[in-house]
Each structure stands twice: as structure tokens, then as C-alpha cells.
Assembly symmetry: C2
Homo-oligomer: 135 residues x 2
DNA sequence: TCCCAAAACTGGACATAGTCTAGCTCGCAT
DNA sequence: ATGCGAGCTAGACTATGTCCAGTTTTGGGA
């Protein structure tokens, strides 16, 4: 994703695209990696040597609030996911690495039997060992 | 679960049942709450005023290794679950409170299409709002 | 019973992840 | 040019968890 695409995306979601925000956003958006906040901080500093931890956290939280990314606590600590459409997750038990599984690949039955809660979202979390590189 | 049942359970899993370990274990085992480590520390201190944070963590990790409980990173931070049989999870979005859903209540199809990993475990994680108290 | 080694426990230092705040800076409208 | 507010900064602070060196407890053997 080019910088100008990132800028457009931020604007489209009501976020003023400062240089710092663009640097942070382009570390996460438009790819299927699942970086931690510290990873984003490190990558953002490659582009913009002076950027504070607080700015990275502020920006990630802002992107989260505005629906540009999601936060997941599984895997190796909390990671960010720019795939905001519904999908499932596959996690490598050894490394904590996380991959997305398309929504259509799996399905759940029996949800109508859940009576004691109003369901807003659900996903399947699979743990195992990756065989090889991502297809 | 009585103390002597806890003692038996620990022994049966090759854990020497010291007074401290029993105090910690009985805060978690035999009930369906999902306490955090800090909650366990607080509860354990009600029984045993002098018990260190390290002992609580050591014991919880030991119980985890020996298969007496599981650790889950969803919900409100990391919590412990004495239900070690397969089950799914329902999480209240507001409070982070977690409830177990029996394995048989839900089912997943399509797992055979996962080709790039050896699956060791999976579960459904549902988010929503609890309607009322646990049945 | 007494003694010893091993196991368990302790407090505190350290590590990691994340939040908060007070002050500074920069871009923009006037 | 100047004043203002959004954004950014460093660093202090909190929460959670690990590690370690030293001390206490425990169980088993003489």
C-alpha cells in the first residue's frame, strides 16, 4: 500500500494524516502480518527515527477505534490485524505466529443454542504447527 | 472441592501438596470461575496471609504444566480455567468476564480444509453481552 | 530423634507492555 | 506575526509477570 493510499484511507475514516500517523499506519495496513506494538514501534522508527512509544500506541488505538484494524490477544502477546473483515485464526504453538483463515473455509453450527448472551461476534481459534510457508 | 480432595488431586499429578500449593489450588480448582493471577493471589492471602507473588505464579504455572488447569489470554487479561476438557468460550465485551460453553453445544465444519498446519486444538470464541446471571 | 539435602518459599530486583501527563511544536486561520 | 489547538515528546507511572539469591521447611535415612 502506497503512502498516498494510506493517507486517503486515514482521511476517509476521519483521521488527520500526520507524517507520524502515516508511518505507523503503513507498518500495519495493507499486509497480512500481525505485528505487536513493539514491532510497529521498531518499524516506524526505520522511517521516522524520532517517534515516541506513546505516539505509536495512540495511533494504533486510534486506528482500532476507527475500525481500520483489530487487536487480538492470542498468539504471541497482543497483536494488530489489518484484516477487519470476519475471519478465523490459526496460531503456531511454538512461535505464536498467527495466520488468518478465510471466513468461508470454516463454519460453526449450534450458535442458536446460546441463549444467555447477545452475540456480537465470534471466531474459531485453531492451535497447531505450521507445516511450511504461507501459500 | 474440599482441601483433602485438592491434596489428592495434586498427589495424583505428582505435585507435593504443600500448604501454599493447596491454598493456591483451591482458589482455582473445582469451580468455574476464571480468575486472574492477581485474583488468585488475593484469595490465597485470605487463607494464608504470608504468601508471595512468586509462589502463586510458580504454583499456577506448575498446575498448568501438569494439566490441572489451562491459561487463556482472552477476556480481561490472562485468566486460569480449571476446566481442562474441551470447551468453547463466551466473553462479555464490557466486563471481559468469561463463561464456558460445553463442547457438544457447538460444532465446527471445514477443518479438513486446513492443509498448512497440523491441528492440535481449536475452540470457538464468542463475544457478546451476557443477558443475565449464569444458569 | 536428629540431621541433611532437596524442595519449597521469600522479598526484591528486573523485565515487559502499556497508560498518562505536562509541556513543547508545528501548521493553520486570522 | 501571532495565537490556538491538535499532535507529539520524554519520562514517570502502573500492571503483570519472571528471576534470583538467600532462607525455611520437609521428608527420609542413620
Amino acid at each position: 500500500m502506497t503512502d498516498s493510499e494510506v493517507v486517503e484511507l486515514l482521511r476517509a475514516h476521519g483521521i488527520r494524516p500526520s507524517a507520524h500517523r502515516v508511518a505507523v499506519a503503513s507498518c500495519v495496513l495493507g499486509n497480512d502480518t500481525h505485528p505487536s506494538a513493539e514491532t510497529v514501534l521498531r518499524k516506524a522508527r526505520e522511517r521516522l527515527p524520532v517517534i515516541s512509544r506513546a505516539t505509536v500506541y495512540n495511533t494504533l488505538n486510534l486506528l482500532n477505534e476507527k475500525g481500520l484494524l483489530r487487536q487480538h490477544p492470542f498468539g504471541a502477546g497482543t497483536v494488530f490485524d489489518s484484516n477487519v473483515s470476519r475471519h478465523h485464526h490459526l496460531i503456531d504453538e511454538e512461535t505464536g505466529e498467527m495466520r488468518d483463515i478465510p471466513w468461508e473455509k470454516l463454519s460453526v453450527s449450534g450458535l442458536e443454542s446460546i441463549k444467555d448472551a447477545e452475540i456480537t461476534d465470534y471466531m474459531i481459534v485453531i492451535r497447531g504447527r505450521f507445516k511450511k510457508r504461507r501459500a
